[in-house]
Amino acid sequence: MSGLLISVARRDLLLARRRRIEALLPLGFFIVAAGLFPIGVGPEPQMLRQMAPGVVWVCALLAAMLSVTQMFASDHQDGSLEQMLLSSQPLVTVVLGKVLAHWLSSGVPLVLAAPLIGVLFDMRAQAIGYLALTLLLGTPILSLLGAVGAALTLGLRSGAALVFLLVLPLTIPALIFGTGAVGAVDAGLSAQAHLSLLGALLIVTLLGAPVATAAALRISMD
């Protein structure tokens, strides 16, 4: 079972590596979108520092949704997704492998780029560390929930736009606890509660979302 998971993930990562620029587009979007905020609201360091966790998190949400429709789209087009559904292998594991690959190729770059944005927003070193940590816990949630949306909107004309509408409301708890942890650290409090809740959210999503995604794929390919 874990062999299947790893082979699906490796295949998707290999495909992503073949189209390197395409795979890095969400990262580009993330940096551009976050970079627009200081220009839009003004360069006062105090205000930027206060806004930074929220801006980084919201931009990460949008960047994740931007790339998530690609998770099944190309496999749907060339028919290999149908073969995955027909195969005797558990579909939930296939979904998990694809989510893992999506997270490694688009979530992890966001985690790595977040400290850079934090520096641009004049955040303190400790807050930057926690920002990266919350994103490390939060971006898998985005990939998992995004997979549900991507599976539901598979092959639809307006699929890419629909995913934003369907998934973003569901990511609000992750946004709240992610930014809350950084805010707490910035205010000199412990981020323990926020991080625990974010971790709990990740576990629950990890248990529920792949099952929902597999069901959604079966509905969409019916």
């Binding site: 549900v148 539901l152 909107t153 639809l156 004309r157 307006s158 699929g159 629909l162 509408l165 369907l166 973003l168 409301p169 569901l170 609000i172 708890p173 709240i176 606890f177 809350g180 805010g183 809740l197 959210l201 529920g208 929902a212 069901a215 959604a216 509905i219 969409s220 019916d222």
Partner: protein
């Protein structure tokens, strides 16, 4: 048309043709109930119920606001229930109910937000605060819009119903998580010092008016949802004989 089996079972009205016939007779009565309850409820609410000593007359919007907020939450659960029923048992009629419920639920959510804003302006001095209740009601509206957008975007009827069912269920599971996280977020930020939770003790006439308005909204929901479900039935069953007979029959009767 096969009407030779009049034995009533619990699935009897799951047949779209029977639903169509029965609901056609019920819809006018629901409208009568809507207007009757609304007339009495609004009369008590506006003329009998005493003026609130803190909020003055502006509190009277609760006779619309609170029932609408109740309906908005109830309809989402009912919608998720019928959608799941239709998905699991492959019952067409249940899926049609779910689809017919969504716009009414979204409308009540919007009404609750709108009347809340109208009440907030004279009472709090602002149209909107990011209070926990307002925020979660706003997110509920987003969930409704997502459901409607998804079911409308899919052309295949069965796929639309089942995909909508999955989304509605995921939303229903997430509602408590969203609600509690929003509440926590709100208390941590201390943004809104004013809260809608501190409801003053209510005079019994106020409660009567509110309950009457709730009954009126229930009847309205039945009337509108049945009417919409009838239209969906006609659309989705348009290739059957009974629909052709019904549609042609009414056209000839009008001539």
């Amino acid at each position: 048309m096969n009407q030779a089996a009049p034995a009533l079972r619990w699935t009897t009205f799951a047949a779209p043709s029977r639903f169509f016939a029965l609901s056609g007779r019920m819809v006018p009565w629901f409208w009568v109930a809507t207007l009757a309850f609304a007339a009495v409820g609004l009369y008590i609410g506006f003329f009998v119920a005493p003026t609130d000593h803190q909020q003055g007359e502006s509190y009277r919007i609760i006779f619309i606001h609170v029932p609408a907020a109740w309906m908005s939450m109830l309809i989402y659960l009912v919608m998720a229930f019928w959608a799941a029923w239709g998905w699991i048992l492959n019952a067409r009629m249940a899926s049609m109910y779910a689809r017919a419920l969504a716009p009414t639920g979204a409308m009540f959510t919007f009404v609750a937000l709108w009347t809340g804003a109208l009440w907030g302006k004279p009472t709090w001095g602002t149209w909107w605060v990011w209070d926990a209740r307002l925020t979660s009601e706003f997110i509920l509206l987003l969930l409704y819009i997502g459901y409607i957008a998804l079911t409308e975007a899919i052309d295949d009827v069965r796929r639309a119903a089942n995909a909508g069912a999955l989304l509605a269920l995921v939303g229903a599971v997430n509602i408590p998580v969203i609600y509690f996280s929003v509440r926590w977020w709100n208390t941590l930020h201390q943004g809104a010092t004013i809260s809608a939770t501190a409801a003053p003790k209510m005079a019994s006439t106020m409660l009567t008016a509110m309950l009457l308005m709730t009954l009126s909204f229930w009847a309205y929901s039945f009337a509108v949802v049945f009417t919409r479900a009838r239209a969906i039935v006609l659309e989705q069953e348009s290739d059957t004989d009974w629909v052709r007979a019904t549609v042609l029959g009414t056209k000839e009767a009008k001539r």
